[in-house]
Subunit: 804 residues, 2 copies
C-alpha cells in the first residue's frame, strides 16, 4: 500500500541521487582513481572527454523517484530515455540497481568494476553515450531525437500491467514526430493497454539555443499540454530538498491517478477518454555541476550540454572537477571497496522490478511465435498464367484477418498505417478487429473502437514509432503505407536497423520480431495521385544498411505475396520490405508454384519462355543458352515483361527467350555480400555469362546495377525502371513514360539481340520490322492518351496468350 515519503526517506533518496550523479561524472571524466582515494591528477582523467553532462542529473533525479514509486506501488515499469546522450544516467542507475553487473560481470560492484565502468563510457572500444542496446533496460537509444513518446506508447499497447515512464527532453519536444506523439493518448485503451507517464524535462536549452517549450509562459505550456489531452503536474526549482518533496508528491499523484483511471475503466467500463497525468520537470541544465567555469555561467546554461571541464587544456579545471566529485560526498555513498552503502542499495527495486531488468525491455525474452493459418486456404485460383482481375493485397487481407483472429487471445499482433489500411486493400482485417480510437465518434464512422488492433494516424512517424515500441517489447506487427511516403521514416528505419545490428551482437539481448513493411500503393499505380506520389527509392535506402538485417521482396502476384508475408511474419530481427500491388492484376502462379518460387526467391519461368527442354542446368545453359533473357522484378514489370514475351514469341518465334522472375531482390547480390545472395555459379546458371539480359525493374534502374556489378554478365545487363517521369495518367502510360512498357522492352530486346550478333539474317529483318511496327504503336498510344485519355484497346483487352 501507498506510504507518503518521510523526510528521512527523501534524504536517502537524495543520497541515491548523489550516488548516480557521482557515477555519471565519473563516467564522463575518470580514467582511474574512481573512489577518489587519492588527490585527483591529470592522469586520472580520460585522455579524451566525449560524454554529455547537461541532461544527466535531471534524469538521475527522475530515475531515483521512479524507483521509489515502483517500490511503493509494486509497479511493473520500464524507462524510455528521450534526451540525447542520456547514457551516463541510465548506465549509472542500472549499475546502482545491480542489473549492469549481472549482464556484464566484469563490471562488478567494487572498485575495479567502477574503474571499468568509468573507462568504458563514451570511449573508444567502450559504450555509446546514449541509452544504446548495450544498456540493460533500454528499448530506445535516442541518438536521433523525436521518437521517445511513440516508442513508449508502442510498448504500452497490449501490456495492461505495464507503466512506461518516458522522459522527453525540451529539445526533442521541438521535433515534429514528438509534437504529434502527444496525441497518442487518443489511441490508448485504459482497459487492455498499459500506461504511459510522460515526463517533460525542461532544462531550458538544446545544444546552444534555448528550447521553445521552456520559453513560453507556464500558463501557455499548461494550455498546450491540456490541449493535447494531458493533465500536467509541475515540478520546478533547483534546491534539492524541496525538489525531492515536490517530485515525490507529483509521482504519487500521477501513479494514483493512473490507477484510478485504470480501475474505473476496467471495473465499470470506459465512459470517456481519460485525461492521463504527466509530469513537467523544470530543473537546471547541468544541475549540481559547476556553477561557473572561467567566468561563464555553467549550471543552468547551454554550456553544460556536453563536457563542462577540460582539465588537460585548462589547469584550473582539475581542482574544479575534484571539488565537483567531492560535492556528492562519495564517502557516504560507497564503502572502501566501492560497494553502494546497503541503506541506499535497498532503495532500488529488486529482481525484475528493476527497470534495467524488466523483461519488457528485452522483448525477445517475451516473444512468442504467431499462430499463422495455412496460406493455402487463401490462395487465389490461377487456372492458367495470366488469370485476370485479382488484387494481390485483397487476397492478402483475409489472411491478415485470420492472423488477427488466431492471435486475438495472445494480443500480440497489430497492423499500423496512416489511414490507408482500406485504401491498401486490407479491408478484410476489419472483420476481425477495429481501428483503436479513444477520441470522439460520430454517426457514420465505422470500425472505430477503444479496443482495436489497427492503428491509424496520419503520421508515418507515429506509426513507425508505435510499431518499433511494440516490436522491441516482444510483439509482432505490420506497417502498411504508400511507397512514396514511406521515405518519411527513412531516418527512423536507419535508427531501427542500427539498433537491430548492434543488439544482435549483445549476448544477453534476445531477437525480436522483424519490422515488416507492406508498400501496397506503389509508384506504378498512382493513377489519381500523380508525380508527387511516385518514388520507389525506399528500397535503395534500405539496402544501404547491414545485409544481415535487410530483406526486400517484390512478389509478382497474390500467391507470391501470401507466401512472402507468411515468411516475414515468421522471421526475426530483420527489416522486411514487401512491395505489392493493390489493383486488380493478372495472376501467374498457383499456390504450390508460388511457394516454390518464393522459397527460391528467383527463378526461371519456363512456361513463359521457349527454350528447348525448358530446363536450367549449368551444362545445357552454357551449351545452348537462349538468345535473350527477359528478367523482371515487381508486379507491373512482370506484367509488361510477359506482354513483351507474348509479342516476341508471336512475331519472332525462332528467337529463344528465357524469363527470369525475381521475388527476393537480395538474391542478385553476391553471396558474400548478402546472406540471400546467389553464388556466382547459381547466378550464371540463370543469367548466363554472355546472353543479353533485359531487366524490367520496379524501382530505379541503378539499384539493379548496384547489386549486380560484380556479376560476370553485368556488361550485357540492360535495366529499365522508374526514371522519375510521371504524372496523372493511365497505368500503362506510366510504363511508357519510363520506357518500361512491353513495346519498349521488345524494341530493346531486338536491339540487344541484334547487337550481340545472334540471329540469322532473316530473323534480323523480322526483328527490324517488328521494331518499326512497335514504334508506330507507340505513336498511336500517345494519340490515344492525348485525345481520349485512354489506352489502346489492345492494351485494355490484353490477355496472356502464350501460356501452356
Amino acid at each position: 500500500m501507498y506510504v507518503a515519503p518521510t523526510p528521512a526517506e527523501l534524504k536517502r533518496l537524495d543520497a541515491y541521487w548523489r550516488a548516480a550523479n557521482f557515477l555519471s561524472v565519473g563516467q564522463i571524466f575518470l580514467w582511474d582513481n574512481p573512489l577518489l582515494k587519492r588527490r585527483l591528477t591529470l592522469e586520472d582523467v580520460k585522455p579524451m572527454l566525449l560524454g554529455h553532462w547537461g541532461t544527466t542529473p535531471g534524469q538521475n533525479f527522475i530515475y531515483a523517484h521512479l524507483n521509489r514509486v515502483i517500490k511503493s506501488f509494486d509497479l511493473d515499469m520500464i524507462y524510455v530515455c528521450g534526451p540525447g546522450h542520456g547514457g551516463p544516467a541510465v548506465v549509472a542507475n542500472t549499475y546502482l540497481e545491480g542489473t549492469y553487473s549481472e549482464v556484464y560481470p566484469h563490471i562488478g560492484r567494487d572498485e575495479a568494476g567502477l574503474r571499468r565502468l568509468f573507462r568504458q563510457f563514451s570511449f573508444p572500444g567502450g559504450i555509446p553515450s546514449h541509452a544504446s542496446p548495450e544498456c540493460p533496460g533500454s528499448i530506445h537509444e535516442g541518438g536521433e531525437l523525436g521518437y521517445s513518446l511513440s516508442h513508449a506508447f508502442g510498448a504500452a499497447f497490449d501490456n495492461p500491467a505495464l507503466f512506461v515512464a518516458c522522459v522527453i527532453g525540451d529539445g526533442e519536444a521541438e521535433t515534429g514526430p514528438l509534437a504529434t506523439a502527444w496525441h497518442s493518448n487518443k489511441f490508448l485503451d485504459p482497459v487492455t493497454d498499459g500506461a504511459v507517464l510522460p515526463i517533460l524535462h525542461l532544462n531550458g536549452y538544446k545544444i546552444a539555443s534555448p528550447a521553445v517549450l521552456a520559453r513560453i509562459p507556464a500558463e501557455e505550456l499548461t494550455q498546450f499540454l491540456t490541449g493535447c489531452g494531458w493533465m500536467p503536474i509541475f515540478v520546478s526549482g533547483h534546491e534539492p530538498g524541496p525538489m525531492h518533496a515536490q517530485m515525490a508528491a507529483a509521482m504519487d499523484q500521477a501513479v494514483l491517478e493512473i490507477h484510478r483511471i485504470q480501475r474505473q475503466a476496467r471495473k465499470y467500463g470506459q465512459a470517456a477518454r481519460p485525461r492521463w497525468p504527466m509530469i513537467v520537470l523544470n530543473s537546471p541544465k547541468g544541475w549540481t555541476g559547476p556553477r561557473t567555469v572561467d567566468g561563464q555561467p555553467m549550471e543552468g546554461n547551454f554550456r553544460s550540454h556536453q563536457v563542462p571541464l577540460h582539465p588537460a587544456d585548462h589547469p584550473g579545471h582539475l581542482a574544479l572537477l575534484e571539488d565537483w566529485l567531492h560535492s556528492y560526498r562519495p564517502g557516504e555513498l560507497f564503502d572502501a571497496e566501492g560497494r553502494l552503502e546497503p541503506e541506499l542499495a535497498t532503495l532500488a527495486p529488486v529482481g525484475r522490478r528493476r527497470m534495467g531488468a524488466n523483461p519488457h525491455a528485452n522483448g525477445g525474452l517475451l516473444l512468442r511465435d504467431l499462430h499463422l493459418p495455412d496460406i493455402a486456404s487463401y490462395a487465389a485460383e490461377v487456372p492458367a498464367p495470366g488469370s485476370p482481375g485479382i488484387s494481390d493485397t485483397r487476397v492478402l487481407g483475409p489472411f491478415l484477418r485470420d492472423v488477427m483472429r488466431l492471435n486475438a487471445e495472445a494480443r500480440n499482433f497489430r497492423v499500423f498505417g496512416p489511414d490507408e489500411t482500406e485504401s491498401n486493400g486490407l479491408t478484410a482485417v476489419f472483420d476481425a478487429t477495429n481501428r483503436q480510437w479513444d477520441a470522439e465518434t460520430a454517426p457514420g464512422d465505422h470500425w472505430l473502437a477503444p479496443q482495436g488492433r489497427v492503428m491509424e494516424m496520419l503520421s508515418e512517424h507515429q506509426c513507425q514509432g508505435w510499431l518499433e515500441g511494440y516490436l522491441l517489447t516482444g510483439r509482432h506487427g505490420l506497417f502498411n503505407s504508400y511507397e512514396a511516403f514511406i521515405h518519411i521514416v527513412d531516418s527512423m528505419f536507419n535508427q531501427h536497423a542500427k539498433w537491430l545490428k548492434v543488439s544482435a551482437q549483445v549476448p544477453w539481448r534476445r531477437k525480436v520480431a522483424s519490422l515488416n513493411y507492406l508498400l501496397a500503393s506503389h509508384v506504378w499505380r498512382q493513377d489519381h495521385n500523380g508525380f508527387t506520389h511516385q518514388d520507389p527509392g525506399f528500397i535503395d535506402h534500405v539496402v544501404n544498411k547491414k545485409a544481415e538485417i535487410v530483406r526486400v521482396y517484390l512478389p509478382p502476384d497474390a500467391n507470391c505475396l501470401l507466401s512472402v508475408m507468411d515468411h516475414c511474419l515468421r522471421s526475426r530481427h530483420d527489416v522486411n520490405v514487401v512491395v505489392a500491388g493493390k489493383h486488380p492484376a493478372p495472376q501467374w502462379l498457383t499456390m504450390p508454384a508460388a511457394m516454390a518460387h518464393c522459397a527460391a526467391g528467383i527463378g526461371v519461368w519456363h512456361w513463359a519462355g521457349n527454350e528447348v527442354g525448358n530446363e536450367v542446368g549449368t551444362e545445357s545453359t552454357t551449351a545452348a543458352g537462349p538468345d535473350v533473357i527477359l528478367a523482371c522484378c515487381g508486379d507491373v514489370p512482370t506484367l509488361e515483361t510477359l506482354a513483351a514475351v507474348s509479342i516476341l514469341r508471336e512475331a519472332l518465334p525462332e528467337w529463344t527467350v528465357r524469363v527470369v522472375n525475381v521475388v527476393d531482390l537480395m538474391k542478385l547480390q553476391p553471396h558474400d555480400a548478402h546472406p540471400h545472395g546467389l553464388s556466382d555459379a547459381e547466378y550464371d546458371a540463370l543469367f548466363t555469362r554472355d546472353t543479353p539480359v533485359i531487366f524490367a525493374f520496379h524501382g530505379y534502374p541503378s539499384l539493379i546495377h548496384r547489386l549486380t556489378y560484380r556479376r560476370a554478365n553485368h556488361v550485357h545487363l540492360h535495366v529499365r525502371g522508374y526514371k522519375e517521369e510521371g504524372t496523372i495518367t493511365t497505368p500503362f502510360d506510366m510504363t511508357v513514360l519510363n520506357e518500361l512498357d512491353r513495346f519498349h522492352l521488345v524494341m530493346e530486346t531486338v536491339k540487344r539481340v541484334m547487337a550481340a550478333g545472334g540471329p540469322a539474317r532473316a530473323q534480323g529483318e523480322a526483328g527490324a520490322a517488328l521494331t518499326r511496327r512497335l514504334e508506330a504503336k507507340l505513336i498511336e498510344h500517345h494519340r490515344y492518351i492525348r485525345e481520349y485519355g485512354r489506352d489502346l484497346p489492345e492494351i485494355r483487352d490484353w490477355r496472356w496468350r502464350l501460356s501452356a
Copy 2:
C-alpha cells in the same frame, strides 16, 4: 478603408462560391457539356474519374472570403493549399479571377475554355489533382502532407507587407511536421516579417478515418491552439447563409488584429511576442455535395473524400450528378458564352492582388542575385599541401558572415539549421546577425533577437519547410545540418526536387535559387556521438532524382569548400548537397589551385603522385600510365589516401602512383546521364582503361559503382567507403573499422597491383613485405585503441611528407 459586408455582398459572395463549386465538380466529372446546355449523358462524363471532392468546397469558401478581405483591405496575399488534392479549388478560383487564362490562353473564359479546363483536370495528359507547379499562385503542391505551415512561414519571412493564408487540413494536422510548425510563431518578427494566417479546416475525416483535432472537445482544441501561441477564431456550421456571415466576421477580425499587431510593433517597437490570430473552420467534408448516395451518408462523411458518384457503374448516379451541378444554379453564374457574370467577376481582386497572380508565388520573378564577397579574401593559407590544423567550415564561417552583411539591406539570405550553426563551425555568422527568436529570453542566452537571419529549431522538417518557402518566394538560403539526420527530410527533398523538375518545364515559372545543404558533421567525425550519428546515405538518396536538378560536392579542404559554396550560392533551381568537415584537418590546395580544381570538379593531384612528367594526356597516359590510381572523394578519404600515398612512395618508390581527387561527385556519371558527367574520353584520361583504381569514398561504396558501372575501367575499380561499422572511437579508428584507413588502402593497392601482374619480382617482394609490416601496424593500432583509447603516435603526429 474597411467596410462590413452587407447582406447583398454576402449573397454575391455565395454566388461566387457556387461558381467555384460548380467549376470544381465540372473538373472532377465533365468531359463535355460544360454549361449543361443539354441534358447530361454518360458521354458527357469523363471515362476515368480521378479527382477529389472532399476538401474542395471548404477551400472554395475560404478562397472567396480571402478575396473579399484582399479587396477590403488591399492586402498583398498568397494562398497555401495544405489539404491533399485541393486542385479543383485552386484551379477553379484562379480561373474565376482570370489568372488561369492569362498563363494558359487556350483555356479561355468561354465555353470552349471551360470544356478544356474540365477535361484536363486530373486526367491523362492533363494536370495533377494538387496545387501543383502548373497552377498559378501555388508555392505548395501538398502531395505529401505536413509542410503547408512551414512553407507559409518561409514565405512570410522578410516580406513585411505579405499575408500568407495557409489552409491546413485536419488530416495534415496529424503529421509530425505540421504539429511542430504551429510553434513557428516563436520565430516570426512582426516588424520585418509578414503575417501568416492559418486556417485550420476541420472537415472531420481523412481518407477513411476521423481526424484527431476534429474529434476532441472544442474547449480542448481551444486550449491546444492557445497553448501553441495562437488566438483561434471559430467558424462552424453548414448552412451557407450564416456561415458566410460568420466567416466574413472572422476574416475581418483576423486581418484587423494582424494589422493592429504589426502597427503596434512597427510604430512602438515590440514589447512581447504577439498572439497572432488564426481561424478554425469547421464545415462538412464534401459540403454542398450529394447528401446520401446509395443509402450511405456522403456529405459530411469520409465517403466524400474522393469521387462521390460513378455514373458509368451506377446508372442512378448520372441524375444525381446532374442535380448536383444544377444545385449551383450555373445559369445565374455564367452567361451563355460561359463567361462569369460581371457582378461576380468584380468580387475578385485585380492584377497582382489576385492570389493566382501574386509574384511572391512565382518567386523567380522577384529573385535578385546575392552580393557575394570575393572568396579569395577568406582563403586558408596553405604554404604546402598538408598544412595542418584548419577547420574547413570555420574558414567558411567568415565568408557566410559577409554574405549576411552584404545582403543585409536586401534581406534575402538566411541560414537554417536545427541548433547546429555553432556546432557546425559557422559561429562567425553571429558577428553579423542573430538567431531569430521571439519567445522568452533569459540571462546567459546569446545571439537571440526578434530580428535575426539564423533560423534554428530542433526540427529538420521545420528548417527545410521554412527554407523551401523562403526560396520559392524568391530568396536565398543555406541549410546546415548533421549528415546522418538530414535523412529526416528525405521525403521533403523528394517533393522539392519534383517541384523543381516540373516547374522548370512550366513556361511562365521563373527559376528560383538553389536549395543548398551543408552537411558539416559527417559520418567520419562523430567522435562523441557514435553509430547512431553515422549515415552518409543522403547523397545516395539525392542522386535518384532528376539529373538536371541534383548536384553533390565533397570539397577536400577549406579553400575548395569556399569555392564550392560560392558556386552554390550563385546557382539556380538545383539542389546542392555539400559535405564538409568541421574539425581541424590538413589543407591541400591554395585558393587558385582550389578554384581550378573545383571548376574542373575532378582532377589529378600531380604533386601527390609520382608519374613521370606529371601530366595527364590521353596519349602519354595510355602509353605509360601509372601502376595504380588512388582516387579519393571527401575530406577524410582524401587524408587517408594521401597518407597511403606517402607510405607507398616511401616504401615502394619505383611504383608509379596517380592521385585523383573528386569534388563534384556527378563528374563520375556518363555525360549523357548527368549534365556534369565526364565524357568517356575524359574519364579514361583520368582513370585509364585498365589500371587498378583504389577509390576511397566518403559514403557507401556502392554509390561509386552505381555511378561508374558503364565506364571502361569499371572492372578494375575497387572502392572503400562506409560499410555501416562504427561506434564512439577515434576518427582514425573509424576509418580502420571500415577499412578505409591508409594501411588498408596501401594493402589493397599492393594486392591489386600485384594481381594486375605489374611490378617486377623484386618490387613484388617489397610489396609483400610492406603488407606484412602494415598488418602488424594494424594489430598495434587495435592494441592502442583497446588499452589507451588512443591512436598510434605515428597517426597523431603524421604530416604530409612527400609534397614538392
